[in-house]
């Protein structure tokens, strides 16, 4: 085990788990945790839900309590950016303070919210959501009786829409594609989501882009849509995806392609530098392709894996992709990567509140998705991981318990 300093860049889910894991695995050397956020490591999922609505304080998102964090005895540098990686002398330059020499470097610096390149995108009242400060600012704008326009019908947009609707706002979601969450779920689930939002009185406009924003003297915003229509509102949130913060790695000459390229041991093209979480791109065996997996699970698991790899421990980061979203009272979960080539088997009624869609490769379940079916999906996970051959007819029958496949 190296006695060298380990530097972790980024204090989100991945960075936080990397730091904890180093200590848990017995590393007693110096750990420097550098991140431009003022908070100790925290989880982002509640930022579009309980923290946004004000039901939970920001501190509730901390990965571990402050006392437990202090016990990790890290050299924590809040509000500090790494400005350059100097690979030959193996050190990082910081926005404040002396450069730090590293033995191993773990990049967990995530991404930033993509913004619209249209006039008015930077006006006051046009929000994005990535960190606690964003959630606080947007949360103050969620007022009963006021109007919110959500640009982007992906996960962030839909979760914010649901939260705002529950706060008594009049909400309209505008999505450029012809269905919701087009990039991540099959059309059956897009339809379920459309129905869910319609049921709760959220308007959804599909196949429509945004050409600009303007703001009048009273602070009211106008959203101009492709096709000429205009929406008047009090606040806007733009949720159109994430841009990985891979510039730091790229400028240091590490291999990048829409993210920092790593292998299943979280190693970049430099053997002393690892990457994990939203910024990292690796070959996901379950998807059969190289990708970044912007999920809570991946941030946690890859952060743990990168820390172990940095200590020279055996690592093979290939968790079955798992994702969930909470909207209104619905909990939607996805295991695996559904693709159009899969055969779909339905368990339960898709027009109901609870059903599971299985995506089959022959008679093997490759992926499963469904709302309000956590327990059935947990059994589905086992079928997927074990690549078990199943009987599709029995799988479709809700009378046959999931444990009996």
């Amino acid at each position: 085990m190296t006695a060298d300093t380990i530097v972790i860049v980024g204090t989100g889910q991945a960075g936080g788990w990397a730091a904890q894991t180093l200590r848990k695995e017995g590393y007693t050397g110096k750990i420097v945790l550098v991140g431009d956020e003022p908070h100790i490591p925290y989880e982002r999922p509640p930022l579009s839900k309980a923290v946004l609505s004000g039901e939970a304080p920001a501190e509730s998102t901390y990965l571990i309590k402050k006392e437990a964090f202090d016990e990790l005895a890290l050299d924590w540098r809040p509000g500090v950016r790494v400005t350059a990686i100097e690979r030959a002398p193996r050190r990082v330059r910081l926005s404040e303070g002396e450069p730090i020499a590293y033995g191993k470097l773990i990049l967990c610096n995530g991404g930033r919210a993509r913004t619209l390149q249209v006039p008015g995108a930077d006006l006051p009242g046009v929000h994005t959501l990535r960190n606690i400060e964003d959630a606080r600012a947007l949360g103050r704008a969620l007022l009963p009786g006021k109007r919110l326009v959500v640009v982007g019908g992906g996960w962030i947009g839909l979760e914010v829409a649901a939260t705002a609707r529950r706060k008594g706002m009049d909400v309209t979601v505008v999505e450029a594609m012809h269905r919701l969450c087009e990039r991540t779920v099959p059309s059956e689930i897009s339809e379920y989501l459309s129905g869910l939002h319609a049921k709760h009185g959220t308007a959804v406009i599909l196949g429509t882009g945004v050409s600009g924003f303007s703001r009048d003297a009273r602070g009211m915003l106008t959203v101009s849509l492709s096709g000429g229509r205009e929406l008047l509102c009090d606040a806007v949130v733009v949720g159109i995806g994430l841009i990985p913060n891979d510039e730091l790695a790229r400028e240091a000459g590490l291999e990048c392609d829409g993210g920092v390229l790593v292998d299943a041991q979280c190693r970049t093209s430099d053997a002393d530098i690892f990457a994990a979480g939203d910024v990292a791109s690796w070959h996901c065996a379950w998807a059969g392709r190289r990708m970044r997996l912007e999920s809570w699970q991946n941030a946690q698991e890859q952060g743990i894996a990168a820390a172990r790899a940095a200590l020279g421990l055996e690592v093979e980061h290939q968790p079955l992709p798992w994702f969930w979203s909470d909207q209104y009272d619905a909990n939607l979960q996805i295991y695996g990567m559904p693709t159009p080539s899969h055969r779909v088997v339905v368990r339960g009624a898709p027009e109901s509140d609870s059903f599971v869609l299985f995506y089959l490769d022959g008679n093997v379940v490759s992926a499963a998705v469904g709302p309000n079916s956590a327990k059935d999906l947990r059994f589905a996970r086992r079928l997927i991981e074990q690549r078990k051959v199943i009987d599709p007819e029995r799988l479709a029958d809700p009378q046959v318990p999931m444990s009996k496949h």
Binding site: W17, Q20, E43, L63, I64, K65, A68, W296, Q297, Q300, E301, I304, W322, W324, N331, A374, K375, R378, F379
Partner: protein, 105 residues
């Protein structure tokens, strides 16, 4: 622990083998587990999210939270898998005449 107060929580047969049920006992939300024929009890609300463990997945002596798949050892309440880092409270159990009694206080 001179005089332990035992609360009658359920019939042993109420807790299906290798599964978990949730119930309110003495005003507390509790999870009862049957792990290979032996009964264990813990608080029902995960120490990480606000999920009920009785809706989770019991694998041997480990209960997996349905929300984020953190795990606890049901015998001790100790966390065994991320993201949970804090133990959940576990309760002494005794079985008498086919009933499950818990020491809650």
């Amino acid at each position: 622990m001179s005089n332990i107060e035992w609360t009658d929580a359920a019939a042993v047969d109420d807790v299906p083998e290798d599964d978990v049920i949730g119930m309110i006992v003495g005003g507390r939300d509790m999870a009862l587990y049957n792990a290979g024929g032996e009964i264990f009890a813990t608080d029902n609300i995960c120490t990480h999210g606000q999920a009920r463990l009785c809706e989770g997945f019991l694998d041997g002596h480990e209960i997996e939270c349905p929300l984020h798949q953190g795990k606890f050892d049901v015998r001790t309440g100790q966390p065994t898998c991320a993201p949970v880092t804090e133990a959940i409270r576990s309760y002494p159990v005794k079985i008498e005449a086919g009933r499950v009694f818990l020491a809650i206080s």
